[in-house]
Amino acid sequence: METQTILGTEMTALFASQQHTALRIKKASAAERIARIIKLKDVLTDNFDLMLKAEYDDYKKPAEEAKLTLGPIFDEIDVAVAFLET
């Protein structure tokens, strides 16, 4: 399976763009941070079965084991959201 890598110059440009964004989102409210995390949760949920398949394709990890190891991601999201809401 081929992966796409990027050149050092592109990497540097990406890093610079993130530095700029980091200054902007530093002031993000708790609600904005929660929204980003919830969006990630939604995309993870939509791709749940694909995550199980990818781990199987990589080293035959059975779905039952993979499901157990994805659970703590969602627990972490719930705890982070609850923390940011306080």
Binding site: T5, T21, L40, A54, D57
Partner: protein, 359 residues
């Protein structure tokens, strides 16, 4: 998220002055994530990073390309790339990334590469979280319920084909109860995986991730057998599919290669001790482990092991379960890592705790 208000000493003005700690994001964070739990060990720490208000660049492992490609897709569906992005590639890509002045680096993997990461971070004085590994022992006190312990040890050891940083690496049991434990453990493993192991065609048992790691674990097993160890159950290997069955080893000693590095595979050596203090001394001769697990009903015995050793985390009467709680700090100590993850502790790790004194 809210500033934390603290007491102001009288010498600085007492109640007339406000003392608070504000939690600032560190800035741009780098994640170099492993192959053994590609999604869990990427997304779980990323959540704390996002909660703290940072941006992130993720370099997932090239050894699990299907998972890495999906991580990239999930991130690109969720975030603009100036907030969170994924760069795929091997060690050369990681090396190029480490030349950049990240504000924080989160690495999960082995101690050897952890040292490389820390050296690179030093060039920019970037802070680091290093989630490493080590030889996590299980200590069985004579007061332990061996049947209960065997089931939990087998689950923790052979889950993910032993490729877990918090998996039990080896078991220490007293000389007088070793035979009881070996017998119980053998029966437990064969009950869980069958008399001959799960088999090379099994769809319910993972493989070693690639031929390199398979050969490493196989070599450790063969070295032990050539030097006097013997297989109690398991020991089946298949080069064509990186398969090693759940294996229990007896007559292992500290000189064997398998006791000199983290096994990170489905082979469990059993060693013996005369007194619990001997077990504690043995553990303390090695690097500080990521996990240390104690089984027993005798509270004084358990405390003597916990208080006599240092480890990243411990579980009494189970293994590895401390990882599951978002309310406990997770991480290593010394050779097994630094920094703390999960829940509030992860938030703190990705934050600059900035004191503000309003006089």
């Amino acid at each position: 998220m809210k500033p934390q208000m603290v007491t102001t000493p009288e010498a600085l003005g007492g109640e007339a002055v406000i003392s608070k700690i504000i939690f600032e994001p560190k800035g741009v964070c780098l994640f170099i994530t492993p192959w053994n739990y590609p999604f869990l060990l990427t997304f779980r720490p990323l959540i704390a990073c996002l909660a703290a208000g940072n941006t992130a660049i993720i370099k997932p492992s090239e050894l699990t390309p299907h998972s890495s490609a999906l991580i990239k897709k999930i991130i690109s569906l969720t975030f603009p790339e100036d907030e969170v992005s994924v760069i795929e590639g091997a060690a050369d890509v990681a090396s190029d990334l480490l030349d950049l002045p990240f504000d924080h680096i989160h690495y999960t993997g082995g101690s050897r590469v952890g040292k490389i990461i820390m050296k690179a971070a030093a060039n920019h004085l970037s802070s680091v979280t290093l989630e490493l590994g080590g030889k996590s022992p299980v200590v069985l006190d004579d007061s332990a319920d061996f049947e209960d312990a065997a089931g939990k040890i087998a689950w923790g050891k052979y889950f993910n084909c032993g490729q877990s940083c918090i998996a039990p690496d080896y078991v220490l049991v007293s000389e007088k109860r070793k035979n009881d434990f070996i017998k119980t453990m053998k029966a437990t493993i064969e009950s869980m995986y069958g008399d001959g192991g799960p088999g090379v065609d099994s769809l319910t048992y993972p493989r070693l991730v690639n031929a390199h790691h398979y050969r490493r674990v196989k070599n450790l097993l063969e070295d032990a057998l050539e030097n006097g160890a013997n297989v109690i159950t398991g020991g089946t290997v298949d080069d064509s599919d990186n398969y090693i069955s759940p294996t229990l080893l007896d007559n292992v000693n500290s000189d064997h290669a398998i006791m000199k590095e983290e096994i990170f595979g489905p082979v469990l050596p059993v060693l013996t001790y005369r007194t619990l203090k001997d077990a504690v001394d043995y553990i303390n001769q090695g690097e500080r482990p990521l996990g240390l697990y104690v089984f027993g009903k005798d509270k004084a015995a358990i405390e003597s092991v916990i208080n006599g050793t240092t480890a990243g985390g411990s579980v009494v009467n189970h293994v590895a379960m401390h990882y599951m709680s978002p309310f406990l700090p997770f991480g290593g100590v010394g050779n097994s890592g630094m920094g703390r993850s999960h829940g509030h502790f992860g938030f703190i790790d990705f934050s600059n705790q900035r004191p503000v004194l309003e006089m």
